[in-house]
Symmetry: C2
Subunit: 193 residues, 2 copies
């Protein structure tokens, strides 16, 4: 499964095969079974994590027991908690697997070293960070501008594969609405077609 990660790097950087070997040497493969945690609230997150197989979610649980999904991550996506990683503070998020999954872990120390020693790797990482920010900002835009129905339609357009893979109730959580509301929206939307 590490090949998935290596191909990812090959596709979006000019990291050489020798350097790729160096990257691989600090990779740690972790299998995460369905429902198993990769990170639990209160723990400090210490890695950069790349998903090579499966699907995970990052979420919080509020006082009422409702969970709120911040992010999904499938193959070729990154996951983890950048905030906890950067600050060294306990994470406010949980990450668990929705399917049996496999993740490549690189410790912060090793990761920073790779960035220092392999300029092409550093460039790629910055490009990814940049893109993550843009994606986050677009999501903010949907929250302040769109109705529940519009958000759902946009989600379907943007992540059609995820919509098929993840329970509806979790999509609702990701969109910031209840499962019941999403169910009603779907009924309405279907009528329109």
């Amino acid at each position: 499964m590490i090949e998935v990660f290596k191909n990812y790097i090959r596709e979006r950087s000019s990291v050489s095969e020798d350097e790729l070997t160096q990257v691989e040497s600090v990779c740690q493969i972790k299998k995460v079974r369905r429902r198993q945690y990769l990170l639990q609230e209160g723990d400090v997150w210490k890695y950069n994590a790349f998903v090579t197989k499966g699907c995970l979610r990052t979420y919080t649980i509020d006082e009422k027991g409702n969970d709120h999904i911040i992010n999904f991550a499938v193959e070729n996506w990154w996951t983890g908690d950048r905030e906890s990683l950067a600050s060294g503070q306990p994470s406010m998020y949980n990450i668990d697997a929705l399917e049996d999954s496999e993740v490549v872990l690189i410790t912060k120390t090793n990761f920073d070293k790779l960035c220092e020693e392999i300029p092409a790797f550093n460039t790629m990482v910055n490009a990814i960070l940049q893109k993550s920010f843009i994606v986050a900002q677009n999501r903010i835009y949907t929250f302040i501008s769109l109705s529940a129905e519009e958000k759902y339609i946009k989600f379907l357009e943007k992540y059609p594969h995820l919509a098929k893979r993840v329970p509806q109730s979790m999509i609702a959580s990701y969109l910031g609405i209840t499962a019941e509301t999403l169910s009603r929206i779907r009924k309405q939307t279907a009528r329109k077609l």
Copy 2:
């Protein structure tokens, strides 16, 4: 006013005074009067922009004519449209000044060159990007998890200075609620104290 920018760099990086001069040499100062645009929807954004004085907002206008504020930027904050800058595509955002302001502009080309030639500058830029992402993610969290009142209270805690500086109706827009709703929330919240 460029001193504001230089102090900002001094405080969060180890860029030398010589290098600072190099940075300064590619800086372009732009005064933006209240209500004047720094960027208009449809234009391509080509700079990195740092605010040395005043206050600006980034927003979109929907079909109904409602505006939705994505971001505020005051002294020592960055502004602009990273998405348009990265992609070269026309921006979907407007940026205008809420007060008479002053902004330092660095073209993408020059900025990239600074990042290449001054490692400490590059490191600082990455740290800022990282932080921007974390801030964006926290904002997403507030949208999916909090009620209108909670979002407002959190905003007050996080940006007390902004709350005094910016019209309420714009804070409402930033929070994704109407000005009327915010007014009612304030009345309620005041009663509680």
